[in-house]
């Protein structure tokens, strides 16, 4: 009950005073009222890695690289900074001991998935990981969902979607896309893909569109 009331009060007061102050790595950082931790950190020049985040799309929380440790009323919690709303007086740690350990294991897992991404390579170098002990997937699609969400929220075409669940989840253009020309061929999903493998993988799966060469 107290947390709700405080939430409401802080939401109300945030409307009145636009600026909230929080502490990231013990540095005072101002933030707007509706900002997430990641946005506040980026504005202040602090780097938190993130793969499935894009300014124009709502946060998804799938890549889990942006996790940070927050301390509130003496209790610490691990949250995804791309979605957690900024609160007054919050203590945020981007490289605490716990986060370093967890992120190290996470990067090792990514190295078995798709090791050629900039962010992953930089993190691997930082944590001193040369090789991964896990079984290499060579799947290359990390299911960050950027292409799906971009097409749904920004282009509003919904030409591409998730199919399946769990370990057999895939990203696919709807079958029979030639019936309904949802895809307008803007190819912006190919640029947004963090692994860069999206085009060549799915160039074959799409039926040829009836358009001029």
């Amino acid at each position: 009950m107290e947390s709700t009331i405080k939430h409401e009060e802080s939401a109300k007061s945030a409307v009145i005073n636009k600026n909230i102050n929080l502490f990231i790595d013990n540095k005072a950082v101002p933030a707007g009222s509706g900002d997430t931790l990641l946005l506040a950190a980026r504005k202040a020049g602090i780097h938190i890695p993130a793969l499935c985040y894009h300014e124009k799309i709502k946060p998804h929380g799938a890549c889990r690289l942006c996790i940070v440790e927050i301390v509130k009323k003496g209790k610490s919690r691990i949250v995804a900074s791309c979605a957690y709303p900024a609160e007054e007086g919050l203590q945020v740690f981007t490289e605490s001991l716990k986060i370093t350990e967890i992120r190290k294991h996470l990067v090792e897992l990514y190295m078995a998935l798709f090791p050629y991404n900039e962010e992953i390579k930089a993190l691997a170098k930082k944590y001193g990981l040369k090789e991964t002990r896990y079984h290499k997937e060579n799947n290359y699609c990390i299911l960050c969902g950027l292409c799906v969400r971009y097409c749904a929220e920004v282009k509003k075409e919904n030409a591409i979607g998730f199919i399946g669940r769990g370990t057999s989840k895939k990203v696919a253009f709807i079958p029979d896309s030639s019936y309904f020309k949802y895809c307008v061929n803007c190819m912006e999903c190919m640029d947004i893909c963090p692994t860069g493998v999206f085009p060549s993988n799915y160039g074959i799966e799409r039926l040829p569109q009836t358009s001029d060469f």
């Binding site: 709700t4 409401e8 897992l109 896990y134 299911l143 399946g164 370990t167 057999s168 989840k169």
Partner: protein, 645 residues
């Protein structure tokens, strides 16, 4: 008991009137109640019912009795599922177990003459029979507050529920208690969520009540996805009105006018039962506009699931009710503040709602008098696996595991040795014998690494391999994971690879460290509680049964003789009599042997299905399993000396 014109209930007086009328009708009659829960239905209790009705008609024709003296009733689950179909004769409370259709004439005969059928009674170790239901050891050690009603009422009749005092709590709340008073009563009772989370129900209601907005929702989570747990189904099938009553009281307290009940598709009888209950309640004016003339409107809709365990998670459930894919979402603003269609929503488990009428009727102090200080009230567990008495048990919080398994469960089947009990479903872990004296409540099991969860308790004995059990749960979770976040999806995938390597005999020493690292990742970096608790089973099996992992990795042996790639079926040439029965039944023709000569299994062809061992006559018992590669025995000391274990 149908009336031409169904008059809407307007308050306590109407309820008492209906109850008195039914009680007086039942005065002096013998009631034969037959358990028709899904478990007993599978034992063909419907056939028993049909036969009893037939017999009764016969006796009425023969004028041996009046049509009015005996009533036959189909009730919900009684709980003692091992010995179904179960029948209880009222008012004597005579309990018959394992009833078959052929017993119908004897039963009807003795019901008319007020005798008992000896052979159907429960027999204890000394062979003496126990007649009354509550004296049977299985029931004696329980405290059945919620479950007791199941045995007394027909779930398709709302009048039965009113007869035992149903809907009086609703009348009391609507007429005598403003919402704040109901809320403070629930808060004082210290009722905690029975779905597994154990969050204080009163606090959740309060948050939802105080959240901003006029439109609010209440939801019943009947998605019981835990394999091996079926308590919620039994409550929904046997006593749906108790859940409805609790739901309406909750809606009244919070100020919600719409409710949803999410039932999983694998429970068709539960769906039918709750839909019928809703219809009956609407007829009596207990759902809809102006309930009991109090000015409060409320209606409810049933939403069926479609086969996804992850949809039982609260934010995923709300996504599914909205019509989207049932994936969990980031929950940094509680669903109590922003849930279904971004409106404040209260979500509780079936059993939590079933407790509410009792709290309102008897008071918070009464509720707190049962259980432990931190966890009040009773809890229903589904005790299954290798116990003698499988079924649903309801005990007060704080009873030890040992009491539940041995006193109520009757010990291990077949006299084998107890190994571990798995609690809490896929989110829980295993508890070994050394910790059997732990009391069962929300907090104690959590300290041991497991959790009480929704109440599943699976008992395992020496013939169960812990590595196999962990592999089973990880496979289940990998199949049911939604696949959204990387740690859960990829972490579970990698865990599966490692387990498959270990079970296939290709385990390496570094595998155990890999398992532990993945567990740290899963626990902290997952998006929802499915990934966040997936590591419990791995961590507990590693902690308490590390030597089994060692046997699989170092000796390529499975001590419990379960993991197929590591075991062999062998025919002992001394015992084999050459009857060729196993030769005929082998699906891959791996057994060679002429009649009257000792047979032999070709290990390169054998697929280890076990058909030969089942077929071999008991007097010979010539086929046995063996495991282990004996060359490794020599390297054992060297390896152990190296690793310092």
């Amino acid at each position: 008991m149908s009336e031409k014109e169904i008059k809407k209930i307007s308050g306590l007086e109407d309820l008492v009137k209906i109850s008195e009328k039914l009680k007086s009708l039942m005065e002096g009659k013998t009631v034969i109640s037959i358990c028709s829960g899904t478990g007993c239905k599978a034992y063909s209790s419907d056939d028993v019912h049909g036969k009893i009705v037939e017999e009764l008609q016969k006796k009425i024709k023969e004028s041996k009795t009046n049509a009015d003296n005996i009533v036959i009733k189909k009730t919900g689950c009684h709980g003692y599922c091992e010995r179904g179909p179960i029948m209880v004769i009222h008012p004597g409370q005579t309990c018959y177990l394992g009833v078959k259709p052929e017993d119908a004439p004897d039963i009807v005969e003795s019901a008319i003459n007020e005798k008992v059928v000896e052979k159907l009674l429960y027999k204890d170790e000394n062979g003496s029979s126990i007649e009354k239901e509550n004296d049977i050891p299985f029931y004696k050690h329980q405290q059945r507050i919620i479950f007791d009603c199941n045995a007394k009422i027909d779930p398709y009749s709302i009048d039965d529920y009113i007869m035992i005092g149903g809907y009086q709590a609703l009348a009391k709340a609507l007429k005598e208690m403003p919402p704040d008073k109901v809320l403070s009563e629930v808060k004082k009772s210290n009722l905690r969520g029975r779905g597994g989370g154990g969050f204080a129900t009163g606090l959740k209601w309060e948050t939802t009540k105080n959240a901003a907005g006029d439109t609010k929702y209440v939801i019943v989570n009947a998605d019981e996805g835990d394999p091996g747990a079926y308590m919620d189904r039994s409550i929904l099938e046997g006593n749906p009105h108790s859940v409805l009553e609790g739901l309406i009281i909750a809606a009244y307290t919070i100020g919600a006018n719409h409710g949803y009940i999410y039932v999983r598709q694998e429970y068709p009888f539960a769906v039918k039962s709750i839909e019928n209950a809703i219809e009956n309640a609407r007829e009596y004016g207990l759902l809809g506009k102006n309930i009991m003339n109090s000015g409060f409107d409320f209606d409810v809709k049933v939403h069926r699931g479609a086969g996804a365990f992850v949809s039982g998670e609260s934010s995923a459930l709300m996504a599914a009710v909205e019509g989207n894919v049932g994936e969990p979402r980031l929950k940094y603003i509680h669903t109590a503040v922003s849930g279904l269609w971004s409106k404040p929503t209260n979500l509780n488990n079936v059993e939590t709602y079933a407790n509410i009428p009792h709290i309102i009727n008897n008071g918070a102090e009464w509720f707190r008098s049962t259980g432990t200080p931190g966890s009040s009230g009773t809890k229903i567990f589904s005790l299954v696996g290798k116990v003698n008495n499988t079924g649903l048990v309801e005990v007060p919080m704080g009873v030890t595991l040992r009491d539940i398994i041995y006193k109520i469960g009757g010990g291990i089947k077949g006299g084998k040795k107890f190994k571990a009990v798995q609690t809490g479903g896929p989110s829980g872990g295993v508890i070994p014998e050394a910790l059997l004296d732990l009391p069962v409540d929300f907090d104690e099991l959590y300290k041991a690494g497991s959790m009480m969860g929704s109440g599943g308790m699976i008992v395992m004995d020496e013939s169960d391999c812990m590595v196999n059990v962990a592999h089973y749960f990880i496979k289940f979770l990998a199949d049911e994971s939604c696949g959204k976040c990387v740690p859960c999806r990829e972490g579970l995938r990698q865990l599966l690879y490692i387990y498959e390597r270990i079970i296939n005999g290709q385990g390496q020493v570094e595998d155990l460290k890999l398992l532990e690292d993945l567990c740290i990742l899963l626990e902290n970096a997952s998006l929802c509680a499915l990934g966040g608790t997936a590591q419990n089973i791995v961590v507990t099996t590693l902690k308490y049964f590390r030597q089994e992992y060692g046997a699989h990795i170092y000796y390529k042996a499975c001590p419990a003789m379960v993991c197929k790639p590591l075991i062999r079926y062998e025919i002992s040439s001394d015992k084999c009599s050459g009857c060729t029965r196993c030769v005929k039944v082998c699906p891959v023709d791996a057994i060679s042997g002429k009649p009257k000569e000792a047979h032999a299994i070709d290990q390169s062809l054998c697929i280890k299905c076990g058909a030969c061992m089942e077929e071999c006559p008991e007097k010979y018992s010539a086929i046995a399993k063996s495991t282990g590669i004996f060359e490794y025995e020599k390297e054992k000391e060297a390896v152990f000396a190296d690793k310092g274990q």
